[in-house]
C-alpha cells in the first residue's frame, strides 16, 4: 500500500511519515507543488499541517486543491490540511475563538471512520491559530472539544477526512490507531 504525505510545511509532517512507516506502508514526503500526475498511482494521501494561515495564505498550499479535485483514493487532511479541504469544498475558516496549543480533551461524535473502536473521549494534542467556522455542505463533524467546535470532519460522498488536532504526535492518545483506521478505509476502498 502506498500512502504519501504532502508537505505543507508542518513541524510534524515528518512525524506523519514516521507513523505511516511504522504501520508498514510505503510512504514518502512530497512537496505540495508536486504535479498530481506524479501522485495518481497512490492508494491514499495525507495533507499535512503547516505554518500557512489557510484563509489568507492559500497560495502557500500549492496543489492541495488539485489533489482534492482529482484523486479518487482516500485523503486525510491534518490541521491546516483539514482547514484547507474544508474551505476548498465551501466551508468557512477564521481565527480560533480559543487557540489550542498542546493538550485538548477530544470528544468523538462519530465512530464510523477515523475514530472506529476508539473511546468517546480521549486526550489529543493540537497547535493551531485558526479553525473551521462553517463545515462545508455534504460534510459531517466527527469530533469536537470544549475549545474548538470542529476537531474532525468527514465527507458524506467521497472518502475525504480531516482532523484539526495532530494524531501523529506522541502525546496524542490513540494516534497510531487513527492512522490505522485511515489505512483500513483505504484497504476497503481499493477492494
Amino acid at each position: 500500500m502506498k500512502v504519501y504525505v504532502v508537505d505543507n510545511g508542518g513541524q510534524w509532517t515528518h512525524r506523519e511519515w514516521r507513523v505511516l512507516k511504522y504501520l508498514k506502508v510505503e510512504t514518502k514526503i512530497v512537496p505540495n507543488n508536486t504535479p498530481f500526475d506524479d501522485l495518481k498511482d497512490l492508494d491514499g494521501l495525507v495533507l499535512s499541517g503547516g505554518a500557512p494561515r489557510v484563509a489568507t495564505d492559500a497560495n502557500l498550499m500549492g496543489n492541495n486543491g488539485v489533489y482534492l479535485e482529482r484523486a479518487e483514493y482516500p485523503i486525510m487532511g491534518i490541521c491546516a490540511g483539514m482547514q484547507f479541504l474544508s474551505e476548498f469544498f465551501g466551508g468557512q475558516l477564521g481565527p480560533s475563538e480559543v487557540p489550542e496549543f498542546g493538550h485538548v480533551g477530544l470528544k468523538v461524535l462519530d465512530h464510523d471512520d477515523l475514530f472506529k473502536g476508539l473511546p468517546d473521549e480521549f486526550n489529543v494534542w493540537a497547535s493551531h491559530n485558526d479553525e473551521v467556522k462553517k463545515v462545508p455542505e455534504g460534510f459531517k463533524v466527527t469530533a469536537t472539544s470544549p475549545t474548538c467546535p470542529v476537531e474532525g470532519v468527514t465527507c458524506l460522498t467521497r472518502p475525504i477526512f480531516g482532523v484539526q488536532f495532530h494524531p501523529e504526535v506522541e502525546n496524542t492518545e490513540n494516534g497510531p490507531q487513527i492512522f490505522q483506521n485511515f489505512l483500513d478505509i483505504i484497504e476497503k476502498h481499493n477492494y
Binding site: D7, G9, Q11, H14, Y22, G50, W125, E170
Partner: protein, 315 residues
C-alpha cells in the same frame, strides 16, 4: 524502532559509498554524534577523525567525560580548545537566533581548520530530524536555527554526510543500544550548549552561573530519581534569566539573578510535557542554588509549560 539492524547495515553501506577519502565528524559526546561516529568508524575506520570542540559553553566536567568516552571507543579524536574564540564572537549578542548562527558558524570554522590539517574532504554530523525540521526551509517556519543546520555556510567546502537525518532521539537511542554506544542514555544537550540557557549576553561570568546551577539541578534530580522519588525526566537543566529581583540575605538587601528549573518528559523532542518534580525535590534545589550561589542568585522559578506552546530550551 523498526528494523534497527537493517538501519545500521544500510547506513554503514551508504557511508562507505559516500566517503571515499578522509572525513571528520563533529562530535559533542551526545548520543546523536556518538552514534554517527560509531557508524562512520565502522564504515571507514581510521580515515575518520572525531573532533570535539570545547567552546567554553559546556557543562561542568563535560570535556573530561567526553574525552574518556572517546578513549573507550578507540577512534581517532581531537579536542579543539576554542572557548576564547566563541566568547569573543558572542560579545554583546543577545538575540537567540543570532547567537545560534554565530555558534554554528564558529563550529564550522573550527571543523574546516581540523579537516584541512587531517586532509579530510567530508564533514559527518549527527543531525537528526528535529534539527532540520525546526531550522526551517522553503515551506517550514524557523522555530530555532539548530547549529548544525542553520549555521552551515553556503560556501561549505566539504561534502556533508548525515546518516541520522530521518531519526528522532528515541530511535537514535535504540541504535545506540544496539551498537553498545556508551552515550546511549545521556540526556539531550543542544549544540549551542549553555549559550541558549543564558538569556541575554553570553559572558564567561554568566556561563559560570548557569553551569553551576545546571550542575545542581542535574545532581539533585538524579539523586531524587535514584531514590525512587520521581522518574528521571527526558531532559532537565537550569536556565539563567537576564533580569534581577530583590531579596534579603542575612538581614541585607540582595538584588540578584533568577534561575529557572526546566525538566520535561518527551519521546522525540517534537512535543513535550513539563516533568512533575515533587515539591520536596524542588525545595532542595531552590535552597541549594540560592545558598551555594548566594552572590549571584536569590530567586528560583519552575517552568510548567509544555511544548507546544513553548520549546524545551528557552532559546
Amino acid at each position: 524502532m523498526l528494523g534497527v539492524e537493517d538501519f545500521v547495515n544500510e547506513a554503514i553501506e551508504d557511508i562507505k559509498s559516500k566517503i571515499t577519502g578522509k572525513a571528520i565528524i563533529a562530535c559533542s559526546g551526545g548520543v546523536d554524534s556518538m552514534v554517527a561516529a560509531t557508524l562512520t568508524s565502522k564504515a571507514i575506520g581510521d580515515r575518520l577523525l572525531a573532533v570535539y570542540v570545547d567552546n567554553g559553553l559546556m557543562r561542568k566536567g563535560e570535556t573530561d567525560e567526553v574525552r574518556t568516552m572517546m578513549e573507550h571507543m578507540g577512534i581517532n579524536f581531537k579536542i579543539a580548545d576554542a572557548g576564547e574564540q566563541f566568547f569573543a564572537a558572542l560579545k554583546g549578542v543577545t538575540d537567540p537566533e543570532q547567537k545560534r548562527k554565530i555558534i554554528g558558524e564558529k563550529f564550522i570554522r573550527v571543523f574546516e581548520a581540523e579537516a584541512r590539517s587531517f586532509g579530510a574532504d567530508t564533514l559527518v554530523q549527527g543531525t537528526i530530524a528535529p534539527d532540520w525540521i525546526e531550522s526551517g526551509d522553503g515551506v517550514r517556519d524557523t522555530i530555532k536555527s539548530h547549529h548544525n543546520v542553520g549555521g552551515l555556510p553556503k560556501d561549505l567546502g566539504m561534502a556533508l554526510v548525515e546518516p541520522l537525518r530521518d531519526l528522532y532521539k528515541d530511535e537514535v537511542r535504540d541504535v545506540a543500544r544496539f551498537l553498545g554506544v556508551e552515550a546511549s542514555e545521556r540526556q539531550p544537550f543542544p549544540g549551542p550548549a549553555l549559550a541558549v540557557r543564558c538569556l541575554g549576553e553570553v559572558t564567561p561570568e554568566n556561563i559560570e552561573i548557569v553551569r553551576e546551577a545546571c550542575f545542581i539541578v542535574e545532581d539533585e534530580i538524579r539523586k531524587a530519581a535514584a531514590a525512587g522519588k520521581m522518574p528521571l525526566p527526558w531532559q532537565y537543566f537550569a536556565a539563567l534569566l537576564p533580569t534581577r529581583s530583590v531579596g534579603v540575605q542575612g538581614d541585607r538587601r540582595a538584588y540578584g539573578r533568577t534561575i529557572v528549573i526546566r525538566a520535561v518528559e518527551s519521546v522525540d523532542g517534537m512535543t513535550a510535557t513539563y516533568a512533575k518534580i515533587p515539591m520536596d525535590v524542588l525545595d532542595v534545589m531552590a535552597t541549594r542554588i540560592t545558598n551555594e550561589m548566594k552572590s549571584q542568585v536569590n530567586r528560583v522559578v519552575y517552568d510548567i509549560t509544555n511544548k507546544p506552546p513553548s520549546t524545551i530550551e528557552w532559546e
